[in-house]
């Protein structure tokens, strides 16, 4: 391994100021789009995992629930870096190419939706079963129980869990830089790993840390604001 050396400050600064704004944009774009799509797919699946149980409000056939659980477990056990390569044919099919920020959204969503489904499941399991019984006693339909009781009552917990999801997905976007994705991860890898410019890598990492802090702070604040239990 070559000796650790730092580029002249001016050169490092030129690269950082020139490339970082766009890299931040790419990272945010991939993270937010992937999280949104993962929620669109994962939220209904999480609901089914809870409501679809035999004593749930919308019992599903046992085999279907079982299949759903197995699928989620399989997707969750593939390391993200390998998943990205595995889904390249699908990415080509959907996006037309396998590199670039837009292309990285495909594996990000596939990796994130099973995770989101599990997070939603855990949020919904926190809802007091007596509340569901109460709604039944008032003549609520299963759909009304899901939307007005289970989901509505767990909004603060869902916000907290979606914050976990978005920070995890942010970490994944950085990893996608290794196989053609754009953003801060790509910046860190191309300059830091391939060209030994540790200054640029350090700057990318600092920016990633700042983004995670920002998301976490906002998420915690929104969750607390949404929760009407402790006043």
């Amino acid at each position: 391994m070559p000796e650790l050396h730092f580029e002249p400050i001016a050169e490092t600064w030129r690269i950082i100021s020139g490339e970082c704004p766009f890299a931040i944009w790419e990272t945010l774009y991939a993270t937010i789009l992937a999280t949104a799509l993962a929620i669109v797919i994962g939220l209904p699946l999480g609901v089914l995992l809870v409501a679809g149980e035999q004593d749930g409000v919308l019992p599903l056939p046992k085999w279907l629930l079982h299949a759903l659980n197995v699928l989620i477990n399989i997707l969750r056990s593939i390391p993200f870096i390998i998943l990205m390569i595995l889904v390249i044919p699908l990415t080509r099919l959907l996006i037309g190419k396998a590199y670039g920020t837009m292309a990285s959204v495909v594996p990000l969503v596939i990796a994130a939706f099973p995770f989101v489904a599990r997070l939603v499941e855990s949020s919904l399991r926190e809802v007091n079963p007596s509340l569901i019984e109460m709604a039944q006693s008032l003549g609520a339909t299963p759909f009304q129980i899901i939307t007005k009781v289970m989901l509505r009552e767990s909004v603060p917990s869902l916000i907290s869990n979606f914050t976990i999801a978005i920070t995890t997905i942010l970490g994944y976007t950085a990893m996608s830089g290794a196989v053609g994705g754009g953003g801060l991860g790509k910046l860190a890898i191309t300059y830091g790993y391939n060209r030994y410019m540790y200054g640029v890598m350090a700057a990318s990492v600092v920016l990633l840390v700042v983004l995670v802090q920002l998301f976490q702070m906002l998420g915690t604040r929104f969750a607390a604001k949404a929760d009407k239990r402790q006043r």
């Binding site: 007596s130 039944q136 008032l138 003549g139 509505r152 009552e153 929760d227």
Partner: protein, 335 residues
């Protein structure tokens, strides 16, 4: 009228089956405040959940105004449930909604427009005495206030029947009294039929007109509260009515016999009965326990006496029973 016929409920658990209810039959007339009392584990909560079919009975039926509930389709059942609402021990308010929105909840489920629902909810807030809590969240209220909101919510769809599942068990005695007064008021104002599940004697004494005593999944005694409580016939009823003073009596000494007398009404409680019996019949009764209770706003006194032998027992029962306001019977002294 609610008629429960031959109701049984068996639960399957990992270690065998549990018979929560065994062949329970009851009739609750319109306008009754009907108490169902029993120790914990007697099957009360299961019974009340069978009335609105939150639990499906294993056997038997529930008829409401002659209509069997078990044969209804889900949508029909949901409609019926709007006419039989329920309040709970833990209030079960939606924590993320304001009180007003909690009361609107059943109307929202029924598809009532939100403006109309809010008007109705404000009326109900006033009815339960909390007109200023519309925008408060449940966490900001005391237990008694939360139960009032739950009652308002239960009344939103104009039910005919209100099921109360241990509705006062989480409240202190003063708040319990306030909630029971509210229930009685609502019963009088709206002609509600109230079915009240409890393990507290005082609750049944305070507001119920009829009572059923549930023990180990079966109804062991049923009737007007004054009758059941003044002269409980079953073992379970005695345990409830005389939780102490009877159970805790020392066992009788050789040959001695015991009598329980219940005085109904004011005239008998003011007569020096035992003293008169001693003078007139020469029976020297030993008073083992005595108490006065108020049941359905009437005073009841009860007493346990011990007499020397079978002959004295016979004469004492004869003497005491001459007064129609007195019920006297021999009680078994337990070994």
């Amino acid at each position: 009228m609610i008629s429960i016929q031959g109701l049984s409920k068996t639960f399957r658990t990992s270690d065998g089956t549990v018979e929560a209810l065994k062949n329970v039959s009851l009739t609750v007339n319109d306008g009754d405040i009907y108490g169902i009392i029993g120790m914990s584990g007697a099957g009360k909560s299961t019974l009340v959940r069978c009335i609105n079919l939150l639990e499906r009975p294993t056997e038997g039926t529930v008829l409401i105004d002659g209509r069997g509930l078990c044969s209804l389709t889900e949508p029909e059942l949901r409609k019926v449930r709007r006419r039989i609402s329920m309040i709970f021990q833990s209030f079960n308010l939606l924590a993320q909604r304001t009180c007003l929105k909690n009361i609107c909840f059943p109307l929202e489920l029924a598809g009532v427009k939100s403006r109309d629902a809010e008007i109705r909810a404000r009326e109900l807030l006033a009815l339960v005495g909390l007109p200023d809590k519309a925008d408060a969240y449940p966490a900001q209220l005391s237990g008694g206030q939360q139960q009032r909101i739950a009652i308002a919510r239960a009344l939103a769809t104009d039910p005919k029947v209100l099921l109360c599942d241990e509705a006062t068990s989480a409240l202190d005695p003063k708040t319990t009294h306030d909630i029971l007064s509210l229930l009685r008021d609502l019963h009088n104002k709206l002609g509600l039929t109230v079915i009240l599940i409890t393990h507290q004697m005082s609750v049944v004494e305070e507001i119920c007109s009829r009572v059923a005593i549930l023990d180990n999944g079966s109804v062991v005694e049923e009737g007007p509260v004054e009758e059941v409580f003044s002269a409980p016939k079953s073992e379970a009823a005695r345990r409830l009515v005389f939780p102490d003073g009877y159970d805790t009596l020392p066992s009788a000494s050789e040959g001695k016999r015991r009598i329980r007398i219940v005085f109904r009404g004011y005239s008998t409680t003011t007569t020096p009965l035992i003293a008169r019996m001693a003078i007139e019949e020469k029976i020297l009764a030993n008073i083992l326990a005595a108490s006065i209770k108020t049941i359905s706003e009437k005073e009841y006194g009860s007493m346990v006496l011990e007499v020397a032998d079978a002959d004295e027992l016979e004469r004492a029962l004869h003497y005491l029973s001459a007064d129609p306001e007195i019920v006297a019977e021999e009680v078994e002294s337990r070994a």
